[in-house]
């Protein structure tokens, strides 16, 4: 029976039933797998305010599996090691839905090794509040013209009377020239892909609180009619993430990216969502 940080890992699992908090498990319906290296595997099923724990070799069918060595696991249980830090340092690996794994923190009361005095911990009272103040964002005539164009399945760029630079979405001024942009050019709608950001992690939309499904691809597309740095930022069809090639200009070296075309939404309202995403056009 080994111990790290004064914690016997077997005991942590053996006491799960007695430390279970039905109120923390409310709404949780999942199977968690624990793979403690060279120690053992446990499968924890939680549902309907109840739990079941099995010692098993087979962690298939788990919604999330955490693989960690005994020492790191004990350290996290003891509160001496930070779970996120362990994850970042690759001392712990999580397969499956990471956010689900975080739920386990609420399901059990804190493990206290036998014989240790239960220190009355000061309860950390947490008040979660989503602060929401509705806004009415104006487009102004420039962005407005552009969004109106999207409604009509047209992608417009504004042009600088000085340097001829195209900007899409458009801006009122050409920043380097410091003069007002004054004419419009239709670009695309198709073009070649430049950058692809293959996103495994999505941030919640600060306005709606929704998180995008991952993986998704944010892309830069050089639409037909544009040159150099005049790249359009949007999204790629998530089904095609692995089928596209990035384009790049690096001095003299030019690599052409996959040709793409926009997929228009049926219901267009004059917003970025009027283009659902770009898809391969080859």
């Amino acid at each position: 029976m080994s111990e790290y940080y004064g914690i016997d890992v077997d005991d942590v699992f053996n006491t799960m039933a007695s430390r279970f908090r039905p109120e923390g498990a409310e709404g949780v319906d999942a199977v968690f797998g624990y793979d403690i290296t060279e120690k053992g595997k446990w499968k924890l099923s939680v549902g309907q305010g109840r739990m079941a724990l099995d010692i098993t070799e087979d962690l298939s069918g788990c919604d999330v599996v955490v693989r960690v060595d005994e020492q790191t696991f004990a350290g996290i249980i003891a509160g001496k090691l930070d779970a996120m830090a362990a994850l970042s340092a690759n001392k712990m690996k999580v397969e499956g839905d990471f956010n689900l794994f975080a739920v386990t923190g609420k399901i059990f009361t804190k493990y206290v090794p036998p014989g240790q005095e239960v220190e009355p911990e000061q309860e950390l009272v947490m008040l979660k509040r989503t602060i929401s103040v509705n806004q009415r964002f104006a487009t102004g005539p420039i962005m407005g013209t552009f969004l109106q164009g999207l409604k009509e399945k047209t992608i417009l760029a504004i042009k600088c009377p000085g340097c001829g630079r195209l900007q899409s979405p458009p801006r009122e001024i050409c920043a380097p020239c410091r003069i007002r942009n004054d004419s419009w050019v239709e670009i695309g709608p198709a073009g070649e892909m430049r950058m692809l950001e293959y996103c495994y992690y999505a941030s919640p939309d600060p306005l709606t609180g929704e998180t995008r499904e991952t993986p998704y691809g944010a892309i830069g597309v050089l639409l037909d009619g544009c040159k150099d740095n005049e790249v359009f930022w949007h999204l790629l069809n998530p089904q095609q993430l692995n089928d596209v090639r990035m384009g790049m200009v690096m001095g003299d070296k030019v690599v052409h990216g996959t040709r793409l075309r926009p997929v228009w939404s049926a219901n267009r309202t004059g917003s970025i969502n009027d283009i659902k995403y770009f898809e391969i056009d080859e």
């Binding site: 930070d82 996120m84 830090a85 994850l87 970042s88 340092a89 690759n90 690996k93 999580v94 950390l124 602060i131 806004q135 964002f137 487009t139 962005m143 969004l147 900007q167 979405p169 801006r171 920043a175 430049r194 950058m195 692809l196 950001e197 293959y198 996103c199 495994y200 992690y201 999505a202 941030s203 919640p204 939309d205 600060p206 306005l207 944010a218 892309i219 830069g220 150099d228 740095n229 790249v231 930022w233 949007h234 999204l235 990035m246 384009g247 790049m248 200009v249 690096m250 001095g251 990216g257 917003s271 970025i272 969502n273």
Partner: protein, 397 residues
């Protein structure tokens, strides 16, 4: 008429930092700020009576407190004092230093306390950053400060294997530095033999940008006290002089998705302007330490070229040869940098504080060996903005 001689010199006479962590539930915002302010006052041997003006900064939408300098008066000690609040996103800390420097140099104030802070755990960091994007467009596309752009660029130029190794080498070095800094938020005790494993298994965030490469989300505060030359010499036995600073912003559109090179970055523009007007031809030779605002290991490697005006793969070699280590030829981030610690509103002022500590010779375990005279500190934020500050041991320019 180019850059003019300043009205009077300004010296850093006091530095205070909180321990940086993701668990400062034991203090509220003003209390946390107070720790740093108290630290700076004690370091300088001053009391609030000696302070003329307080400059405050953070990114308020992270904690969702409107005009937080009002509430934070409880911790900054600004009551009855002159007070400013300047904010510029990630570069806020750098702007605080520029601001304090301008205020003291102007003659309008003799002793100015600048304090930057952030309590990221009280909000949602990536959501807060995404909130900087245009609500009509980029907000649907941006994922906080995460991008694989630098990785794509370095890999295209130097090949997958070399680029990935360089980024990981940089990361491990930053962690080694952080392990010597008791205030750093994250110090993992990474080892060289973990390199392959980390490169293969650290969870990817975007493309080749992996969790291990990316900066922290920290809570913390940092305060610096600036004084006019006359007062600085009275207050401190080793004032650190602010020689010059430059701020370079650019338009709102990010050009992270363009894969079009070369482009002028605000980093290289700032560097060229700052060194040019100070007569510095060879920054790599001139500076003894550089605290760079490096939000990711990929950017850290990439920006060495911009900041030192290098060519080809000189910057990659700096990393491969480990010149950037504390005992190396050009120490970068002896504090562990931003990857180890990132309380955003404070991060950029911490760069200046850490560079100043190096010049004073009291950085403790993460002190660079030898005489440190010329320090450089950078800030990053917004849509690829830069603030660059030069610090000196002597007023010999």
């Amino acid at each position: 008429m180019g850059y003019k001689k300043r009205n009077r010199h300004v010296g850093i006479v006091g530095i205070g930092e909180t321990k940086f962590s993701s668990h400062r539930e034991d203090v509220n915002q003003p209390e946390m700020i107070h720790e740093a302010v108290r630290g700076a006052l004690d370091d300088a041997g001053l009391t609030m009576d000696d302070i003329d003006c307080v400059v405050h900064g953070n990114m308020e939408l992270f904690e969702m407190v409107h005009q937080p300098d009002m509430w934070h008066t409880l911790g900054t000690g600004a009551y009855g004092k002159s007070a400013f609040r300047v904010t510029t996103g990630g570069t806020t800390g750098g702007t605080l230093v520029c601001g304090a420097d301008n205020l003291v140099a102007s003659g309008m104030y003799d002793v100015v306390l600048a304090v930057g802070f952030e309590k990221l755990q009280e909000g949602h960091t990536t959501g807060g950053i995404t909130n900087m994007a245009d609500p009509l467009w980029a907000r649907r596309l941006q994922s906080g400060a995460l991008t694989a752009q630098a990785a794509v660029k370095l890999i295209a130029e130097f090949g997958e294997a070399r680029a990935r190794r360089a980024a990981m080498t940089y990361r491990i070095i930053m962690d080694m530095h952080a392990c010597k800094n008791p205030n750093a938020h994250r110090a993992f005790h990474l080892d060289w033999d973990q390199m392959e494993d980390l490169m293969a298994t650290s969870p990817p965030l975007i493309g080749d940008l992996r969790l291990i490469h990316m900066c922290s989300q920290s809570d913390g505060a940092c305060a610096i006290i600036f004084a006019s030359e006359k007062k600085a010499r009275e207050i401190s036995g080793k004032p650190v002089w602010v020689r010059d600073h430059i701020t370079v912003h650019r338009e709102e559109t990010l050009n992270l998705h363009n894969n079009y090179y070369p482009i002028e970055t605000t980093h290289s523009f700032a560097a060229k302007q700052l060194y040019g007007r100070n007569g510095i031809d060879n920054p790599l030779e001139y500076f003894d330490v550089f605290e760079m605002y490096d939000p990711s290991a990929w950017w850290g490697v990439d920006w060495l070229r911009d900041f030192f005006l290098l060519e080809g793969d000189e910057h990659i070699k700096m990393v491969e040869n480990r010149d950037i280590m504390i005992d190396g030829k050009m120490p970068i981030n002896p504090s562990g940098g931003v990857i180890a610690t990132n309380p955003i509103g404070a991060t950029a002022i911490i760069r200046v504080a850490e560079a100043a500590k190096q010049i004073r010779g009291d950085a403790g375990d993460h002190q660079i060996p030898g005489n440190v005279e010329h320090g450089l500190a950078s800030s990053f934020g917004g849509t690829m903005w830069t603030v660059l500050t030069m610090l000196e041991k002597e007023t010999n320019w």
